[in-house]
């Protein structure tokens, strides 16, 4: 029985489409892969939802079997990528492998599943013991993965602690299932009656009959007591309404604010990841706000209600992250990028003249140009090959170079990046005060850039639902907006790969390149840059608004209608 349920769960190809990219992408880059595996803990419960299906509930089986089948399916979905990851880790970094890490991922992930099954919100397997802090719980799950405390313990104890925690959790889970484990027909009916009206997905004659019985009973009671009671409208303030309109998914904002502060301060690719999260978030809001389609609200109002929470959260995160960046890493921010891994063997990672890729010049493939100072000192430039184009850093200086050479190169670099030649000592002594506009400029460009990506992503979604578009049947389109998720899941790791493997922050390079182009025509510090960013923002928004008014909100029933039509 369990196996046939599991087969039913795993037979859904959508599940695999969700899991496969994450699983596969974890293989080539084991370090990064660990992150992907951790992400699976969040993805798998959505692929195998903890809520039992009506079909399962009507079967004359123990609820425990339903739970076990679900856990097993989830385990398979999690286990395969985990296996892949372990094997690739062993193959690529046999020396670095700490077996207990790999081994403890299993119980930790098991805990993650089970915790998420206990989380409220979807009223999962009818668990009586449910916690009310969904977000906190998920963060705790994340923490369990990253728990340095556990991993610093001796391996055997670490694995033991995690495993026993998982077992305890499982027992708690099983105990929390109602006493009437055998779902006899009457139990199932009572159960169904209790839960049927909470589920919008399945409707059927069964439900109608049961609802009928229930409603008649309820109504009789009420009619007698409240029949003639005059009900005054409950006063509800504007603020309350606004909050309600914006609030249903605010729980996620915490994530974004915290994460954006943490990530923006160190890495630029997260702008992209945020666009993705925001995309999902705002799409979820669009579905939730479907009921508003019947209200006399303009497209603009609905658009705002849809994107406002994510925009607010992102802005907060951005501002927080940028502030943090300026305060904590002013020097890093200013002229050098985090040293790109070059093809030059003798790399100097802390080089003060390693500028962002945007300032590098193209060179012939697989050659290493010589940079010559006026007094004859030379150095072979750092090179990097990305997308089959070789670039070199014209400001290369090495540890072995003379102080004069380093100083010369730094002045050239600062001239290029900051627009004024600075001596290294002056720069190190008082970096932020000399270029007050700079961080703001960068931030605004980055914000505009992120917003543009966000807008483009939304456009991609909406374009498929424009007035005159037909959906093709079959293929990726069946995924609906899901294919975008795939794009991002593929694109995300790719960009991340550049960041980790080559130490190239692609987003940063894009932002730098834009800044460079601006700086070549006007001063990089002028008001023109934030103005441009603002204009970009406005343009992105106008584009969104234009497209939003022309796109339909797909309903789940539309899929049904499509099926019926074909």
């Amino acid at each position: 029985m369990i196996l046939s349920l599991v087969r039913a769960h795993l037979g859904n190809k959508l599940v695999w489409l969700m899991i496969a990219p994450l699983g596969l992408s974890s293989a080539p880059w084991p370090t990064l892969g660990a992150f992907g595996i951790a992400t699976l803990a969040f993805v798998v419960p959505t692929a195998i939802p903890p809520r039992p299906s009506k079909f399962e509930l009507m079967l004359p089986i123990h609820l425990r079997v339903v739970l076990q089948a679900r856990l097993l399916s989830a385990g398979v979905l999690f286990g395969l990528p985990l296996l892949l990851w372990t094997v690739s880790y062993l193959l690529q970094r046999p020396t670095l492998l700490r077996l207990e890490w790999v081994l403890s991922v299993a119980p930790a992930s098991a805990m993650a599943f089970m915790l998420s099954y206990m989380a409220p919100g979807t009223r999962r397997l009818l668990l009586r013991a449910s916690f009310n802090v969904d977000v906190a719980l998920r963060l705790a799950v994340l923490a369990a993965f990253c728990a340095g405390v556990v991993y610093t313990l001796p391996p055997v104890i670490a694995i033991g602690v995690l495993s026993s925690a998982a077992v305890v959790l499982y027992l708690a889970l099983v105990r929390a299932i109602p006493d009437s484990l055998e779902l006899s027909e009457s139990n199932a009916t009572a159960f169904y009656a209790k839960w049927a009206d909470r589920d919008e997905v399945s409707r059927g004659s069964m439900q109608t009959v049961l609802m009928h019985v229930r409603n008649v009973g309820q109504r009789k009671e009420r009619y007698s007591s409240e029949r003639n009671a005059s009900v005054d409208p409950v006063p509800v303030s504007d603020g309350q309404l606004l909050w309600l309109l914006l609030s249903p998914t605010w729980g996620k904002a915490l994530y974004i604010v915290v994460a954006s502060i943490a990530f923006t301060s160190t890495s630029g690719i997260v702008v992209l990841m945020f666009s993705f999260v925001m995309l999902q978030w705002s799409e979820e809001r669009r579905q939730r706000n479907r009921w508003m389609l019947a209200l006399p609200c303009s497209h603009r109002q609905r658009l705002w209600l849809q994107i406002a929470p994510s925009v607010i959260a992102l802005s907060l995160g951005m501002i927080g992250g940028q502030t943090l960046k300026v305060v904590v890493w002013p020097y890093n921010e200013a002229i050098t990028d985090r040293g790109q891994t070059t093809e030059t063997p003798s790399e100097w990672r802390a080089s003060p003249t390693r500028t962002s890729l945007a300032y590098w010049s193209a060179t012939e493939k697989h050659t290493q140009p010589l940079i010559k100072a006026p007094w004859g000192e030379t150095v072979a430039a750092d090179t990097i090959t990305i997308f089959s184009r070789t670039l070199h850093n014209p400001y290369t200086a090495r540890e072995s170079s003379s102080a004069r050479f380093i100083e010369w190169q730094f002045q050239r670099a600062s001239q290029a990046v900051l627009g004024q030649a600075l001596s290294l000592d002056v720069y190190k002594a008082q970096p932020p005060d000399e270029r007050p506009a700079h961080p703001a400029t960068r931030a605004s460009v980055r914000l505009a850039f992120g917003a543009l990506i966000f807008a483009l992503a939304l456009l991609m979604v909406w374009l498929s639902e424009t007035a005159r578009s037909h959906r093709r049947s079959g293929g990726l389109d069946e995924l609906g907006d899901g294919y975008l998720v795939l794009v991002f899941i593929v694109l995300g790791p790719m960009i991340m790969w550049f960041e980790i493997k080559r130490d190239v922050d692609l987003m940063q390079v894009c932002v730098d390149a834009i800044l460079l182009h601006i700086a070549r025509s006007v001063s990089a510090y002028s008001i023109f840059v934030p103005l441009c960013a603002l204009l970009t923002l406005i343009a992105a928004y106008r584009l969104l608004e234009w497209q939003f008014a022309r796109s339909e909100t797909p309903a789940s029933e539309l899929a049904v209608a499509r099926q019926a039509a074909s």
């Binding site: 009206d197 909470r198 919008e200 409707r203 439900q207 109608t208 609802m211 009928h212 229930r214 409603n215 008649v216 309820q218 109504r219 009420r222 009619y223 409240e226 029949r227 003639n228 009671a229 005059s230 009900v231 005054d232 409208p233 409950v234 006063p235 509800v236 504007d238 309350q240 309404l241 309600l244 309109l245 609030s247 249903p248 939730r288 479907r290 009921w291 389609l293 019947a294 209200l295 006399p296 609200c297 303009s298 497209h299 424009t466 005159r468 037909h470 959906r471 093709r472 049947s473 008014a549 022309r550 339909e552 909100t553 029933e557 539309l558 209608a561 499509r562 019926a564 039509a565 074909s566």
Partner: protein, 306 residues
């Protein structure tokens, strides 16, 4: 006079080359009650969604009060009310909050009617919508749809999945609204008895087109079903070519044909076509709407194979 709702050659599909609506045209005038009938997937919901601008037509025009609902959403939606089978009202909201939002959005909100309906439905407005039963949630939806006294009420299987009591209450409220405000109604339903009660005009959708568009009473009295033994009319085409024939289908050893006209007229017509000696074998009768629906849209049953 501009019709309240007008569809002109509207086409719409969800999958390429599988049109759900394939050239649909009709008007709804003031005070009219129009029932949309059709099988599952015939496009009833699509029509209602097109009318409130949730969907865009792929061809043709949809206009309410002379305005396209997709380009003038606010003006149009102020004047209509909508209740769908799956309204997906926000479950986290309290009913009172949802009502307050509607009160704010519509200038012509009728507070007295609101109180009336709350009392009548015995709604506990302090409850979250997610905690209400389906019938009560639907009542909240109806309340929200009618208290601004819409000129046109769009009901998309509002009673789908409701129990008979809730369905009846829903119908009662709708009829009261008709009485008080003279609201026009476009509704779709699978419950033929509801259609009969609401009366008015019937639009029968079949294969993306409107197959029948006429007054319910006319449909009931001037359309009849003729039953012939299949040996008489083995040639369906001949029967189908008789004037006024709307549908011919075979049911085992009988042919059922739907004709326009009273039973007597149709009987005479058939006698003319097939000869006086067969008069006794040919029966014509008017049938209830449900039967008529099945006669028009039901499938054939050929001779049992075994």
């Amino acid at each position: 006079m501009t019709p309240l709702l007008s569809f002109r050659d509207v086409k719409r599909s969800y999958t390429k080359s599988v049109p759900v609506l394939d050239g649909v045209s009709f008007d709804i005038g003031e005070g009219e009650i129009v029932g949309l009938l059709g099988r599952n997937g015939a496009g009833k919901t699509t029509i209602v969604r097109l009318a409130i601008g949730m969907l865009f037509p792929h061809a043709g025009t949809v206009e309410l009060f002379g305005l396209a609902p997709t380009t003038h959403p606010v003006e149009v939606k102020r004047r209509i009310g909508y209740v769908g089978e799956t309204q997906e009202l926000p479950g986290m909201w309290k009913a009172s909050e949802l009502i307050a939002l509607h009160r704010k959005l519509y200038a012509e909100w009728d507070g007295a009617l609101e109180r009336d309906l709350i009392a009548r439905f015995a709604l506990d407005t302090g409850k979250r919508i997610g905690a209400l039963s389906k019938g009560q949630a639907q009542q909240v939806a109806l309340l929200c749809a009618v208290c601004h006294k819409p000129e046109l009420l769009l009901l998309d299987e509002p009673a789908g999945g409701l129990d008979p009591v809730a369905r009846r209450e829903f119908l009662e409220t709708t009829i009261q609204l008709l009485n008080r405000e003279g609201t026009s109604v476009l509704f779709s339903s699978h419950h033929m008895s509801d259609v009969e009660r609401l009366g008015g005009r019937v639009l029968l959708l079949n294969e993306g087109r409107i197959q029948v568009d006429r007054d319910l009473d006319a449909l009931r009295e001037q359309v009849c079903v003729a039953t012939l033994p299949s040996r008489l009319a083995s040639d369906h085409a001949r029967l189908a070519e008789l004037p006024g024939c709307m549908r011919v289908r075979q049911l085992l050893d009988q042919i059922h044909a739907v004709f326009e006209g009273t039973p007597a007229q149709v009987q005479d017509q058939l006698v003319q076509a097939y000869g006086e000696e067969n008069r006794a074998h040919m029966q014509c009768r008017v049938v209830p709407l449900e039967e008529l629906f099945i006669e028009l849209l039901g499938g054939e049953r050929l001779e049992a194979a075994a």
